[in-house]
Amino acid sequence: MANQVTYTKLFSESRNNVVALITSSNVSDPTLSAAEFRKWIYSREPDVKASSFKGYPYLIVHPCDLDIEAEKGSLDGKSKFIFWDIEVEIVTSDRGYGENDAKGLANIDAISDDLLQTFMSMTNRKTLSTNSMKFVNPTTTAVGTEVIENELVYRRSIMISFKSRIQVSA
């Protein structure tokens, strides 16, 4: 459920709107059936303390970065161009039992597909646009691999930016 981003909630509501789009049925967890539920969206790296960590795959929706354009505002200074940048990291594991082994790349691609489809969908873009988050522009990074607690993981970042000219003062 997206809400209007106003000058009183520039950071919080913009991130909430992104998380709301991801948590709805738009992006599905490839390792779970629709009836199951587990926490898989974080705001920071989850505290992986042992190789028995069962939380893969997971998403990290980082706090948003904000740019307020100094020029091109309204004459009275109450409206300005605002840019939001939000980084969404996808982390999947390549280890599993039986048929679930070596699915890291397949899972990261499936989640990335869902994420891009969600943010490029006209319906979602219109929803965000009516809530002052216009011109969605996702850019992606290359996939990297690393080892966390003996677990071989794949990692990709999707950086989503928005732009809008909104009121920044009462």
Partner: protein, 168 residues
């Protein structure tokens, strides 16, 4: 990275010059901003990598200000500042270190170490019943890992900020 910028005008040279001047003024500023933003990402990823490599908070300031991005507001060069001992932690050869009363920080660590043998000996050193004892230390490589995580994000960050410098 080479980028070609095409400026189209309706034949008005004055407009083209104004647009060029605006780009000349804004583009370096936005690229600097992009570098700062990537610097923050690099710092975050480096600290995470250090934490994952087993470097604990009490071993120094690496998880706080010991790793930070330094760039002046008008500077085109940024540095990832890191305490010297971080480099040693990352790439030292495995070796023995003596735990003595004079090495207070090491002694504090030894008193709460996971190994009961080290804890016992540390207490003996503290009570002066033992002069010193040696522990074997190994490197905690984390720098390459942190850089590998942050590097792919450089291009999208710079590209986005640079395009903002050109578009507006």
């Amino acid at each position: 990275m080479v980028k070609v910028i095409i400026i189209q005008t309706s034949g008005d040279l004055f407009n083209a010059v104004t647009a060029l001047n605006r780009i000349k003024r804004k583009l370096p500023m936005m690229v600097r901003k992009g570098m700062m933003r990537w610097g923050r990402i690099l710092t975050r990823d480096m600290k995470y990598s250090a934490r994952k490599a087993g470097i604990k908070r009490f071993s120094g300031t690496l998880l706080d200000t010991g790793i930070r991005w330094e760039q002046g507001v008008r500077s085109n060069t940024g540095y990832l500042f890191m305490r010297l001992y971080a480099v040693y932690l990352d790439s030292m050869a495995p070796h023995y270190v003596n735990v003595t009363r004079r090495r207070t920080r090491l002694l504090v660590w030894a008193k709460i170490a996971r190994s009961s043998n080290i804890r016992r000996k540390a207490r003996l050193v503290e009570k002066r019943e033992l002069k010193s004892f040696a522990i074997y230390v190994k490197p905690h490589p984390f720098i390459a890992q942190g850089y590998r995580r942050a590097r792919p994000k450089l291009r999208p960050v710079l590209k986005r900020l640079a395009s903002r410098g050109v578009n507006l």
